[in-house]
Symmetry: C2
Subunit: 191 residues, 2 copies
DNA sequence: AATTTTAATCGACATTTGTATTTTATCTTG
DNA sequence: CAAGATAAAATACAAATGTCGATTAAAATT
């Protein structure tokens, strides 16, 4: 059942169904924690039959994952700086952009982090780590970080940044954005 | 209902019940992903009536959280180094200890990280961040990190370290433990 | 425009979840 | 050890979950 072609050349009906479900979930998550939402709730709001839901997703987690994967491209393109600076500049600019990206989606992101949905939220972290890895793997960056494994470095700094973002968004902005970024600059080696 | 005294001076029956449930969950998580476990499964294995389960925990997530909280003390005491060295030494030693702690509990920790249970797993990260914060707040450390907010610094480095641990444990040990720790040393400022 | 393909809907069902009420068994205290 | 307290079990129930097979509606293809 279900064609499930490569990516987005789905049947019109399927795209409409998925779109409705994503919309409904996003709306509902602004009102109630994800945990408390039932598949029935989502279907009711989306005006989609429950059996149709299960034809597309195995459960509500998978719907959320789908939703975040759609955000992924948007996240990367708005965070990764253009041009080529030093690894340090690259990371700092990407961090500032990421901070803004998540700040603008605070409600949704907090909802993910709370309600047992942050396995899904971590997809974005993985994507970010991969992007930094790609940059650090470039020859000019390799010689800037002699002896360091670019994959380990990418995981380290992206993990650190996402940890700060999580903390900053989940506690009710205990420090200013500038303060956070100023501190961040101190932790990044000057390469 | 339920006395729920301070901490562990519970009725014998309650302690027995909770112990059985934790045991059952730990066993089951080695066989199936947490997601697929039903409260009924856990109760069946624990030989505890389902209504009794709900008298102690609201859902299986809360049981898992309880289980991890019990690990928390053990984790802290086996990771936090004794004596007082530099912030750098403190962090590196704690990191090495943490790496071993989670390596020894790899099956359980991986199970938490996968199966939608890592909101709960992050409790340990929060506890670790708090420990580092306590150290960095001490006067002698403050002057070693001039101008840095100890809370931000703690979140940054603990987040980075847990990110590495997650990556190291979830991919099937792509690099050696020594390699990981050597790289880590390069990322920690010499203070 | 007609035909074929296939997704969405409908209705039904067994299982799980979460809760309430009553009864039974066990622990704690005097 | 006995009496009172209270946790566990038993039973029942409404709601949600996940999966059928069959029917209807809407796409894609000719």
């Amino acid at each position: 059942m279900m064609r499930q072609k490569n990516q987005e050349n789905l049947d019109l009906r399927q795209r409409k169904t998925r779109h409705s479900l994503v919309e409904a979930l996003a709306k509902l998550m602004e009102e109630h924690p994800f945990q408390e939402l039932s598949v029935s709730d989502i279907c009711r709001r989306a005006m989609v039959h429950r059996t149709t839901f299960y034809a597309h997703f195995t459960d509500k987690q998978e719907l959320l994952r789908y939703m975040l994967q759609q955000m992924e491209q948007e996240c990367i393109s708005s965070c990764i700086p253009e041009g080529s600076g030093s690894p340090r500049q690259f990371f700092l600019t990407a961090s500032r952009n990421a901070l803004h990206f998540f700040r603008d989606r605070k409600a949704l992101y907090r909802a993910c982090l709370q309600s047992g949905a942050d396995t899904e939220a971590r997809l974005l972290e993985d994507a970010a780590a991969h992007q930094l890895y790609l940059r650090l793997s470039q020859p000019d960056f390799r010689q800037a970080l002699p002896g360091s494994d670019p994959e380990i470095a990418a995981r380290f700094y992206v993990g650190a940044m996402f940890s700060l973002i999580r903390w900053w968004l989940s506690s009710d902005t205990p420090v200013s954005e500038e303060c956070l970024l100023e501190n961040l600059e101190r932790f990044i080696p000057n390469v």
